[in-house]
């Protein structure tokens, strides 16, 4: 209801304002190059004595839109170059063009260094505990979004296998659904398996923002532990960026991003990507798993034989950009599918040879954005509807062991009874964001996100059971409101609140639930001096149970209709300090301390027992969990070609539930729990990354660059179960062993980045690595990547 009104209002407003604002604005664009013709990224382009200003992209292009017609002095400053000013007169409706060739300057470097920030660096300076990954720097790698996230302090991505395997991103110890995902600020909650952070290549993004613990209100969501926002940006108006890689385990990946925009602003944007892998890497088998293999096939190491994964996705947007009434108005379609074979259940003891899953996404979307619709008023509207389905197929009349040999049997299903169920979640989503600048320093904003869920399932194996299907519906609305005060380079303040309303129909038309929660928070940043920023943030955050938690997912997750909303008090305190010993030796240090106290904490556990769903996981509430910890990043650079960095994360999650729950009496035990204050099991608590990379210019030919990089991943050993229980020896107690993985990469780019060839080697030492108990990840792998990039934007 509410959203309809909002939409209507928005549409009405736009009509009124189009007629008023039409053809009055001008724009300015151009390119910045050095004297050798190299593009200058991250340069600041400002119109003097105004608030108009942008930062150039990685190819040196810039564009300033919606400028009042007038005479301007354009001021360009970039790190390592001399500043330049040029005059231009912009007439109403005119698209001005102005290119700059900047002279290099050693002495200028120091002064400009604070100003010359990329958008990613800019995000990092918010008052929130946020880390932005500059995705453009990773375009020549074969990483997906999840792989890039794994290098951020405080973040751990736990994967159960190779390409497309199940993954779990943890932010300061919160994982699974405590963390929400967004793409350009639009929640991804209901996109299905075909469009997830483990199958979206990094090239689709311009940057990835990781908000830890405290989530700004404009990401309208009920995250508990943080949020990840993938920003695709409108990088260029006319460009083609294509890459293809081939590597170990028959892995093929390709990405094509392209846009074409006419002078009049008509635009077509395309993003297509594909992943394919056999994932036939070798794993070590304990004797236990060899016993049932055919004698001649028995071996301590076998290749996975049923783990093919592939997905294909196409995102197309058609619309207009750069109009006086719309920065962009795009009609889009996301179409994708994925196919995933399942080699094992939660443990390698259960081997499958035919069980697989398919899913697809068919999602029309609408995006509208306009800054300064009225002076100071920005409006963003998004809507989409996912018509996709998910299907799990277990109809084999056979069993498999690790020898990969099909043992026929008369009964059906590798799991009990077999399965062939297709379901659609019918997810709809609409978001509206309106912000208004009250003055140079102050702004207010309102954000509303409405989502709907209505599952329909079709049992193809037992059609008669469809008659027993019960309604599974859920509507959720998150209304956010915020205020910000910002004095650039001095201090900034954010205050915000979120009101969440949830309505659901669970398993029977008569069983209607309604719940609502109010949360609020603040974020503060203060610059002690231009090099030192202190930031603190707090949020009382609420998270409603998600549809899959309440209804299950028909594959491996069981329903819990009684699940309660969880809430958490999240504190962050951080320091960012950049300093230099001299002009060539520079350091930056970021440190964050965190504190979280969550009540009715939702965690996932195995159902257990002897029932049909015993191997499924289910979500349950835990009275209290407290997290304290810190994460830290230090980075050193020598001149502009050598960069060395390291991150370290320590987080201690403690069980604050004082009494164990007795399921048979449905009451708490009176005695204090033996694991009260114990460390929560099966969560990594100490891990880090280290990396070194060197860039060499003009290798073999002018304009050709070579980058050599090395990355080390470290995760300390941790227990599978409560640390106090059992005899703590290797033989008697289960643990996830220490993980050390070395990756190296070489990137050779030619013609100023038009052609790129890169070679990556992952897990160079070929040591068995585990994120999850007994689920071995791929060993050593090599990947060769080709990328072509051309930008014709003017």
């Amino acid at each position: 209801m509410q959203i309809k009104k909002f939409l209507l209002l928005g549409v009405l407003c736009t009509y009124v304002i189009f007629t008023k604002a039409q053809d009055r604005q001008a724009s300015l664009s151009g390119r910045l190059t050095g004297s050798a013709g190299e593009p200058i990224p991250a340069a600041t382009v400002k119109l003097q004595n105004t608030r108009y200003g942008v930062v150039s992209d990685q190819n040196g292009y810039y564009k300033i839109s919606n400028v009042k017609p007038a005479n301007y002095i354009v001021q360009v400053s970039a790190m390592g170059y001399k500043s330049q000013n040029k005059q231009i007169k912009l007439a109403a409706g005119e698209s001005g063009s102005l290119n700059f060739v900047l002279a290099e300057s050693a002495e200028q470097m120091e002064m400009v260094n604070v100003i010359g920030r990329t958008k990613a660096q800019e995000v990092n300076r918010q008052a929130f505990n946020v880390t932005a990954i500059d995705a453009t720097k990773l375009y020549n790698t074969t990483l997906d979004i999840a792989g890039a996230l794994d290098r951020v302090a405080g973040v751990r991505v736990r994967e159960s296998g190779g390409v497309g395997s199940n993954f779990n991103v943890s932010l300061n110890g919160f994982s699974g659904r405590h963390v929400r995902y967004f793409i350009d600020g639009i929640p991804m909650d209901n996109f299905g398996s075909s469009f997830q952070v483990n199958n979206i290549p990094i090239n689709v993004a311009e940057r990835v923002e990781v908000y830890k613990g405290v989530v700004p209100m404009w990401l309208g969501s009920d995250a508990l532990g943080g949020a990840i926002n993938i920003v695709t940006g409108n990088r260029h108006r006319n460009y083609v960026d294509a890459s293809y890689s081939y590597g170990s385990f028959n892995t093929h990946r390709s990405v094509l991003n392209a846009a074409a925009t006419s002078q009049s602003g008509l635009t077509v944007q395309l993003s297509a990507f594909q992943n394919y892998s056999d994932n036939d890497y070798k794993i070590n088998l304990r004797t236990l798993l060899q016993n049932n293999m055919q004698d001649d096939k028995r071996a301590a190491q076998v290749r996975r034989f049923h783990d093919v994964y592939h997905n294909e996705t196409l995102i197309a947007n058609v619309g207009v950009v750069g109009k006086s009434w719309a920065d962009n108005l795009l009609l889009g379609m996301t179409m994708g599918q994925n196919y995933k074979e399942m080699q094992t259940a939660a443990r390698p003891e259960a081997v499958y040879g035919q069980l697989h899953r398919r899913g697809n996404i068919v999602m029309p979307s609408l995006k509208y954005k306009k800054a300064d619709l009225l002076p100071g008023l920005d409006v963003t509207i998004n809507a989409n509807y996912n018509l996709g389905y998910e299907i799990t197929i277990d109809t084999a009349k056979a069993d498999y062991d690790w020898d990969g040999i099909r043992d026929p049997k008369v009964s059906m299903g590798e799991t009990e009874n077999g399965q062939h169920v297709k379901y659609k979640n019918n997810n709809g989503l609409a978001t509206t964001m309106v912000s208004y600048r009250l003055s140079e320093h102050q702004a207010v904003a309102v954000n509303n996100v409405f989502s709907t869920f209505d599952r329909k399932s079709d049992n193809l194996l037992f059609p008669d059971r469809n008659a027993l299907n019960v309604p599974k519906k859920m509507d959720k609305n998150v209304l956010g409101f915020g205020y910000s005060y910002d004095v650039d380079n001095k201090w900034s303040l954010n205050l915000f609140g979120k009101y969440i309303l949830l309505k659901s129909v669970v398993n029977s038309f008569s069983q209607k639930n309604m719940d609502h929660k109010l949360g609020y928070g603040t974020a503060l940043a203060y610059y002690i001096n231009p090099d030192v920023q202190i930031r603190g943030s707090y949020e009382l955050t609420n998270r409603m149970p998600e549809a899959n938690e309440i209804f299950g997912n028909l594959e491996n997750e069981a329903a819990n209709p009684l699940l309660k909303p969880e809430k958490s008090d999240n504190f962050n305190l951080g320091v960012i300090y950049g300093f230099k010993i001299n002009e060539v030796n520079r350091f930056s240090i970021t440190t964050n301390a965190i504190y979280r106290y969550s009540t009715d904490f939702i965690y996932s556990r195995l159902v257990g027992g002897t029932g049909q769903l015993r191997d499924y996981t289910t979500s349950d509430n835990r009275d209290g969990v407290r997290t304290t910890g810190f994460d830290s990043e230090i980075r050193y650079s020598y001149k502009s070609w050598l960069s060395v960095g390291a991150t370290l994360t320590y987080q201690m999650l403690r069980n604050m539930q004082k009494h164990d729950y007795n399921a048979s009496t449905r009451d708490y035990y009176p005695d204090e729990s033996l694991v009260y204050l114990d460390q929560m099991p099966n969560i990594p608590y100490l891990f880090g990354n280290a990396d070194v990379s060197g860039s060499f210019r003009n290798v073999f030919a002018k304009g050709n660059n070579l980058t050599v990089g090395y990355n080390l991943l470290y995760v300390n050993r941790f227990w599978l179960d409560w640390p106090s229980f059992g005899n703590p020896t290797e033989a008697d107690k289960n643990a996830i062993p220490l993980q050390l993985s070395h990756d190296v990469n070489f990137v050779y780019s030619m013609k100023n980045g038009r052609y790129n060839i890169s070679l990556e080697a992952r897990n160079l030492a070929d040591k068995p690595v585990f994120d999850n108990f007994a689920l071995q990840k791929p060993g050593r792998g090599f990947y060769l990547n080709f990328r072509y990039f051309i930008n014709q934007s003017k």
Binding site: E416, F462, D660, Y661
Partner: protein, 416 residues
Amino acid sequence: MKTLVTKTLLALAFAGVLSSCEKKADREVIPENPGNYIIAVTPTAIAGKADYLLTASSLESGAASIIGNGVEQDGTYRYYVTANNKLFSMLYGQGSPGAVTVYGVTDGKLNKLNDYTSATVHAFAPVGDDILTVRVPRRIAAAGTPTVYEWYRVSTATNAEVAKGTVDAIMPSGNGEIAHLSWIKQVGNKVFAPYFSIYNSFFTKFPDQAGIAVFSYPQMQYEKTIRDTRTSFIGRYFVDGLGLVENGDCYAFSSSVAADDDPATTAVDAKMTSTKPSAITRIKAGTTEFDMSYFFNFEEASNGYVITNWLNIGQNKFIANIEPKLTKGQYVTGKRLAIVDVVAKTVKAVTGFPEVKDISSVTTTNYSPKDGKTGYVGVNLASGATYVYKIDASTATATQGIKVEGGVITAIQHLQ
């Protein structure tokens, strides 16, 4: 003002960090307790977690704790069976095949002898030199697919699977419903498998029939069904309803807990439908028919109780869990104990056992040296304390024995 806010926030954050000075309550440290008794403990801390195996030198006194002691078992739900002086720790869940770990006891400590994978099973028992396991279907299979039992034979000498096969799971009931095996037992050179017939959700339309499917061994050919209409089905879900006594006679109990969907409500819920009393019947040694000359009406003899489980302690005696008829249910396990003599047809209530209101649950897999006198039964109290009780059948009394810390007792076993 701005610095004030910053400072406040700073102070708050640090206060949070420093408030981590809460202390755990003091507890007495319970050391390792080496011995030949094995107690499987399921922690109460989180549901769906693995067990710990503890050793104990005696079940009658002392203490054992999973804090700092015990061998962690992976997975969610385990069953324990001893055969050939080995303990088989069988994982029930974790995908279709489960892991089985085999232990022995040396110098009072558990040592792992071997491990192997097996299918998820619903009934298992030592048969000859094997462990026989059977996976039972719970639903009629999809169209075009037969509904079958899948059985596996594992050698207790080599700990490896030696044979497997399937048998029709509908035929034994003779009524079109699945004959869901409640348990299996070697009787002579046959395998007896009492069953409860089900059409869905463990409901039946035939509540007043008892049946035991008889299979040959080791071929596992279905031979016949022993039928009786004097009681409802024999045994219960995951409960062994057969007891073999020294002279080879086989006794069978029925709880009279057959159920069907209650037609009075729209929800799927159970309504007790059997008209027969809870009773004990007999199959004489060497025969494959119910002995119509023997009938022990348990409800009458006990003055209104049904039998829900039993522990064979030898010399025709059993320690039975009993439940008032009024509160019986498909999955209700009695919290009262009684000594049952199947030959004398007597029931004697056990005294000295904790009050029903104080009991959270009673352990299912208990131990008896089969001396006709003694049994050891685990009790998990609502207070969280957990003990093994020694039951003396001659006096029908229970005495508190070893205290177990950290969870509920899932099984009590003994190895030489």
